[in-house]
């Protein structure tokens, strides 16, 4: 099964805005074993200069889930999910993500290519806040391993 290169440029919008909560930030920080109180204690976060608890740096991977899941499930794109491993990931922040943020996300397919018997699919998710300002862009490359 080959990934359809005609899908480069196609966008998948999350059906609803992502509401960042204290509970989710705590759950994520605990899952990655990050004990910093700025992830869990609003007073510590405020003392550090933030409006509320701060999401760990890799938290925005969650923001890309809604769009990338739509892309991967899109039969016209042709991704065999059973062969997928993660190739690379990158985050570019305009500001940190904090509890209380309500973020709109759009995921765009930015590249499709073949390399060494594998196929590479690159997706980029842009998250903007309720006032339309850019918060973070998450780039992800998935490797669909050849048989």
């Amino acid at each position: 099964m080959a990934i359809n290169p005609d899908y480069v440029g196609r966008e998948y919008r999350a059906p609803e805005a992502y509401e960042v909560t204290r509970v989710k930030i705590r759950e994520f920080a605990e899952a990655v074993g990050d004990p910093s109180p700025v992830h869990t204690d609003p007073a510590a976060a405020k003392a550090a200069g933030y409006a509320d608890v701060v999401a760990p740096p890799t938290f925005p991977v969650i923001l890309g889930m809604a769009g990338s899941a739509q892309a991967i499930a899109d039969p016209g794109l042709g991704v065999d999910f059973s062969r997928v491993v993660h190739g690379d990931e990158g985050f570019h922040y305009s500001r940190p993500v904090v509890a209380g943020d309500v973020l709109d996300t759009v995921t765009r397919i930015t590249d499709v290519k073949a390399l060494g018997g594998n196929e590479l699919l690159t997706l980029e998710t842009v998250a903007t806040d309720a006032s339309g300002e850019h918060v973070v862009t998450a780039g992800m490359m998935l490797v669909v391993r050849g048989e």
């Binding site: 605990e30 700025v38 760990p56 491993v85 990931e89 990158g90 922040y93 940190p96």
Partner: protein, 141 residues
């Protein structure tokens, strides 16, 4: 928490290596927290059926540990401006109580006039280099 100052670091400053352990339970917990339920991260039967040596860690779990090395060093988890990694080999996580170890380290590569620094990161597990071309740009106090 005290924050590292831009004047405290130089090009070549090293962040001491740290070792993080990852067990199957950590992967189950990370799957739940992140929403990434790809069975290669928790189902040995499935992982082997698609040609992997065993269950492998989420790349994002490793990326999170390398981020911690940096943010524990700077003292400010909200000061990451750019952070990117390439997953160059899987972290294979056996079904035992010891799990796998991920050894991460970092070196300051550039100091920028805007108060940020670029840190180059490394990570190894089971003798393999599991992160490549990995850098974080962080703002210091």
């Amino acid at each position: 928490m005290s924050k590292l100052r831009h004047t405290d670091v130089e090009v070549g400053t090293e962040i001491p290596e740290r070792t993080f352990t990852v067990r199957r339970l950590d992967l189950v917990r990370y799957a739940g927290a992140s929403g990434d339920f790809n069975p290669i991260h928790w189902n040995e039967r499935f992982a082997k059926s698609v040609g992997l040596p065993d269950v492998i860690a989420h790349g994002m779990f490793t990326m999170a540990q390398a981020a911690r090395l940096v943010t524990d060093w700077t003292g400010d988890p909200g000061a990451v401006v750019d952070y990117s990694v390439r997953f160059s080999a899987p972290v294979v996580v056996p079904d035992d109580d010891e799990g796998a170890e991920i050894v991460v380290g970092g070196t300051v590569k550039k100091k920028h006039d805007d108060g940020t620094v670029t840190v180059a990161l490394t990570a190894r597990s089971g003798g393999a280099k599991v992160l490549a071309r990995s850098t974080a740009v962080v703002r210091l106090a």
